[in-house]
């Protein structure tokens, strides 16, 4: 069997280098074509009519007048008479017309009669108010919790909450579909190029083999774009009925409301500890909602609840809350940011109660985590970068109006590579093609694939043509769970090595050495270690005659750890430094330090971008964004980008990223990096705010009203 293992760290020439993303210019110059940018000949535009009520029954849908409107070519009723609608902005009917304006005009002529049901529940911050919508989902007990609390010198209690967020992808969900008889062309905005034809085919009872999926670029997904969705299915039907290509992308309001949300998490947490900070007991009552289907318990106690070695005595009760709101979708590290926030907040409050430096308290309890040594090293590095010793002051010690505070957050994530098959072609003209049915969610998938292939072939990046974004290419997993880079790099490595073996076989005779004694370096095929017995890459390829080499390589998750190309298990910590204006409640982020372990780093420049982005997303979650529901109308009040607040370029302070690139991590192979740094930032910032304000601000985002209310409660 060929040796697939990564070249030694110190011998890599392309991998591990700060190479700019290869599709950078085409994207930054606006030339890149996203699915939403496509204009097909004869294309129709779809517009959606949705239900304004959070709970209603459809009595009738009358499309007669709409169908006579100018330009209308097809109308689909998505929620026919009898449908019970469980959240506002549920799709009711969709119109395809010559222009978008005509489609929207026609939508306004559709008459829907609803039986409005007024029993909707849309808010879960106060669990007492949701009544029977909260359903117990089990109790977990470990050890003797009551005894442990008795044994504790200090008991700290608090309650914490993190609301529903919406993905708010900048490119909305949607697609262009052209259904022509037995064939269908499908241009979606997706995280799942290889899987989408099967998904759409299943819902349409149409052979997936006849669906061609194309997607060169996707404008954000964050976990919300794995499926073809109702809009995919109905777009296909509109195309079938009109005989025309149809474009349907959600408008911003629908994108914010129905195209994916992250579940909330609330918890009352009680911690018992010894005077020295050693935690003995954890008790929590949590609740969460991700829409009409209740959401499960976040993994608390987070990190410190490691199976087998975590906090020894714990009792957790959870309630899943069903709301009349649109369903949750996966969000960058599902349930981890919530769990990290709940856990780190409780630990921080315990430290305050003990009059202890929270950094010491976290360090003291690292034995409960899966990787005590790694976290210890990371905390020390982060503390150094955040100037913890110089800047940290005990909670409540500051008296001025403007106060500075520091706080800690922690993360863990698996991130092993997903199943992926890569096909490599070496052509007699010396060109190389690398094909995968993968996608670039923004991490730079094309670039890292190219780096791996170039490294393996001893060629420059420019010699490799990377082709992704078509389901005609070999299947690769969906981009979720930080699995893509590990998956595609491993399959590309294996396919490239396999292709190279074939090339060696073709040139071995000419070089007068057995194929297994050859290597590819610096644009040559040569006898190992002997540049004198070499043949330029081009000449080697000419030996192929008229036949190209085609070779495949597969990353099989179960085998991956054994092969060493990729593995699971990232760890990281974050320290936030904020200033709180206690007169206005306005919080400014001064600095967010992220120390992240991530195994073998294929491209430090792109890896750092992931961490920067994750930190900024955390800043948004900690200080700005929240879905705001109206109890009376049952509607989302901030279904826009004006009051659904995202940080701008001036709102983020400084971000310091330390990638823990070291031989001991490198040998673990590639580990995904999209999610882990998106986990601990909210916790770190929330703790920093409480440290500065001198009082726990129990729910995030720490907006001026929440900060001032917390201060007022303390002073009351």
């Amino acid at each position: 069997m060929p040796n697939y293992s990564w070249p030694p760290m110190d011998q890599r020439k392309v991998m591990g280098k700060r190479i700019s993303r290869t599709d950078g210019v085409v994207k930054a110059s606006g030339r890149a074509k996203y699915a939403s940018d496509l204009n097909r000949p004869g294309m129709l535009y779809a517009a959606l009519l949705s239900c304004p009520y959070a709970h209603a029954k459809v009595r009738s849908v009358d499309t007669a007048e709409a169908s006579k409107m100018p330009g209308v070519k097809a109308i689909r009723v998505v929620s026919p008479a009898g449908t019970e609608i469980q959240w506002a902005m549920t799709e009711v009917a969709v119109v395809a017309a010559e222009t978008e304006a005509q489609a929207k005009d026609a939508v306004r002529k559709i008459k829907v009669d609803y039986e409005v049901l007024t029993d909707h529940v849309v808010e879960d911050v106060e669990v007492a108010k949701v009544g029977a919508r909260a359903k117990p989902s089990g109790e977990q007990v470990t050890g003797d919790v009551d005894a442990a609390f008795k044994e504790s010198d200090v008991v700290s209690e608090g309650w914490y909450g993190i609301p529903v967020l919406t993905h708010c992808c900048l490119e909305p969900h949607g697609q262009v579909i052209e259904w022509k008889g037995e064939k269908m062309e499908y241009w979606p905005s997706t995280q799942n190029v290889s899987g989408l034809a099967g998904d759409l085919g299943r819902s349409l009872q149409f052979p997936a083999a006849n669906i061609t999926v194309h997607m060169d670029h996707v404008g954000g997904g964050f976990g919300s774009k794995f499926n073809s969705d109702r809009w995919g299915m109905e777009c296909a039907q509109l195309s079938k009925e009109s005989g025309r290509p149809v474009k349907w992308f959600l408008d911003r309001a629908h994108e914010v409301v129905i195209a994916g949300v992250r579940p909330s998490a609330y918890a009352k947490i009680k911690l018992g500890a010894k005077k020295d900070g050693t935690i003995l007991a954890w008790e929590s009552e949590s609740w969460a909602s991700g829409g009409f289907a209740p959401s499960g318990m976040p993994p608390i106690p987070y990190v410190f609840g490691n199976p087998g070695s975590g906090i020894p005595n714990r009792r957790m009760k959870h309630l899943g809350v069903s709301l009349n709101t649109a369903p949750q979708r996966a969000w960058r590290a599902p349930n981890h940011p919530q769990a990290s926030f709940l856990t780190c907040s409780a630990l921080d409050d315990l430290a305050a109660k003990l009059n202890m430096d929270p950094l010491e308290l976290f360090l003291k309890n690292l034995k409960y985590t899966p990787r005590p040594e790694t976290y210890e090293k990371q905390f020390k590095k982060a503390a150094e970068l955040a100037e913890w010793k110089k800047l940290w002051k005990p909670r409540g010690e500051q008296k001025g109006a403007i106060r500075r505070g520091l706080g800690i957050g922690i993360n863990q994530w698996a991130g092993a590579g997903h199943a992926s098959t890569c096909r490599v072609k070496i052509h007699p003209d010396s060109s190389v093609e690398v094909e995968l049915g993968s996608q670039d969610l923004g991490v730079g998938t094309r670039t890292v694939i190219g780096q791996v292939a170039a490294e393996t072939f001893g060629l420059p990046m420019s010699a490799i043509k990377v082709k992704i974004g078509e389901n005609a290419y070999p299947s690769s997993g969906a981009s979720g769970g930080s699995t893509t880079v590990g998956g595609v790099c491993s399959s590309t490595r294996k396919a490239s090595v396999n292709a190279l073996e074939k090339l060696y076989a073709a040139v071995a005779e000419s070089l007068g050495a057995p194929a297994d004694q050859l290597e590819a370096v610096d644009g040559r095929i040569q006898v190992k270690g002997n540049a004198a017995k070499a043949m330029p890459w081009k000449a080697a390829c000419q030996k192929l005659g008229v036949n190209s080499i085609t070779a495949e390589g597969e990353n099989v998750p179960k085998q991956a750890a054994r092969e060493g190309l990729n593995s699971a298990g990232a760890a990281g910590v974050q320290i936030a430094d904020v200033t709180v204006d206690t007169e206005t409640g306005v919080v400014k982020l001064n600095r967010l330090v992220a120390v992240q372990d991530c195994g073998l780093v294929v491209n430090p420049k792109l890896a750092e971008s992931q961490v920067y982005g994750a930190c900024i997303m955390s800043i948004c979650g900690a200080l700005m964004e929240e879905r705001i529901m109206d109890e009376i109308t049952g509607r989302v009040l901030n279904a826009d980008m004006e009051f659904y607040k995202l940080a701008g370029i001036k709102d983020i302070g400084e971000i310091v990223v330390h990638m823990d690139i070291a031989p001991e991590h490198d040998k673990r192979g590639v580990i995904g990096l999209g999610e882990p740094p998106a986990v601990g930032g909210v916790a770190a910032i929330a703790n920093a705010v409480s440290n500065a304000a001198g009082v726990r601000v129990p729910t995030v985002p720490a907006t001026p009203d929440r900060v001032l209310n917390a201060l007022a409660r303390r002073n009351a």
Partner: protein, 325 residues
């Protein structure tokens, strides 16, 4: 957006002749930063849009005998680049800087800032200017953290104007033209708290166009605006205060204190102004003025925090005006 006919008149006279007599017939387009969104959301469905942006009569910023004349169609960017404004009216400059999007500053006009509609989410979602459903105030019963803390009538939205408070504090007047003539209205009277959903939040009539703003010379008048902002990027302030102080030596001769984003109109805090008379601005005096300014506040269920913000805004605006920030 509902289809409309589009008029691009060459003169103010023509423009006025193209307006309707009732609201909803014709809308006036200048910078468009509010109107286009209102039309996209079907909050406004005019039959005609009259573009006044290019009208010469409405442009420019100049010094006149009466003070500073700002054409209603002058953009926020033009205002910021005007040396005339920069030297005498820091409160306008600070208010303009609070519009943190260069694109909005480049498009949006000063007149448009005064005429823009409230951002109240119930209004924008189609529940009318007062945000009512089945005879009930959604604002009072629902989510009101960005709403008014001063309101005696049914309107609970906040005036979104950035310049209104500063202009009132500076004693500005606005000119409103119609086919039958021109009238001049004090800035303070331009803003009106509507008592019905059909009413509007300014004195402007459907057949009128706001043509210019005239601000008295402010040499020797210390003035400043302070905005409490959640975000630095484009965002609405949570509360603002504009102050103008006519000094008598080291102490205040007369003062104007006007709050923004706290009431359906800019809120004139007469008590605060009165208590400042004869005092020199110290941290304590500024603090007391802030307290006086919000003494009559009646917050809704979720916005008591805005009382504090308004108080602090007044304090900080006064200290800034006095050069003590």
């Amino acid at each position: 957006m509902q289809a409309f006919e589009y008029a691009s008149p060459a003169t103010l006279k023509e423009a006025l002749s193209l307006l309707g007599t009732k609201w909803g017939e014709a809308d006036v387009l200048a910078g468009g930063t509010d109107l286009i969104s209102l039309m996209k959301d079907y909050v406004h469905t005019p039959k005609r849009v009259v573009n006044i942006k290019g009208l010469k009569e409405l442009g420019g910023i100049s010094k006149t005998a009466a003070g500073l004349r700002i054409g209603a169609a002058a953009t926020v960017d033009e205002l910021l680049s005007s040396p005339l404004v920069r030297t005498e009216y820091p409160s306008l400059v600070q208010a303009a800087r609070g519009i943190t999007s260069p694109q909005i500053r480049n498009m949006g006009t000063v007149g448009g800032d005064l005429c823009q509609r409230p951002r109240c989410w119930y209004f924008r979602q189609g529940y009318g200017l007062l945000g009512m459903k089945d005879g009930m105030s959604l604002v009072e019963k629902g989510e009101n953290k960005y709403h008014a803390i001063f309101s005696s009538g049914p309107a609970k939205f906040v005036s979104p104007s950035s310049f209104g408070p500063a202009l009132i504090a500076l004693g500005a007047k606005v000119k409103l033209a119609s086919a039958s003539g021109t009238r001049e209205v004090e800035a303070a009277k331009f803003f009106v708290a509507p008592t019905s959903a059909d009413a509007r939040e300014t004195a402007l009539l459907p057949n009128e166009i706001l043509t210019e703003i005239v601000i008295p010379a402010a040499a020797g008048v210390k003035n400043a605006t302070y905005e409490v902002r959640h975000k630095e990027a484009l965002d609405w302030p949570l509360a603002t205060a504009s102050v103008a102080l006519k000094m008598k030596g080291a102490s205040v001769g007369s003062a104007h204190v006007v709050l923004g984003h706290v009431a359906p109109t800019p809120y004139v805090a007469a008590e605060a102004a009165k208590m400042l008379e004869g005092k020199s601005i110290t941290e304590d005096v500024a603090e007391q003025a802030g307290a006086a300014a919000v003494a009559a506040a009646r917050p809704l269920s979720d916005n008591a925090y805005k009382v504090q913000l308004a108080k602090v805004a007044v304090k900080r605006a006064l200290l800034a005006a006095a050069g003590k920030a």
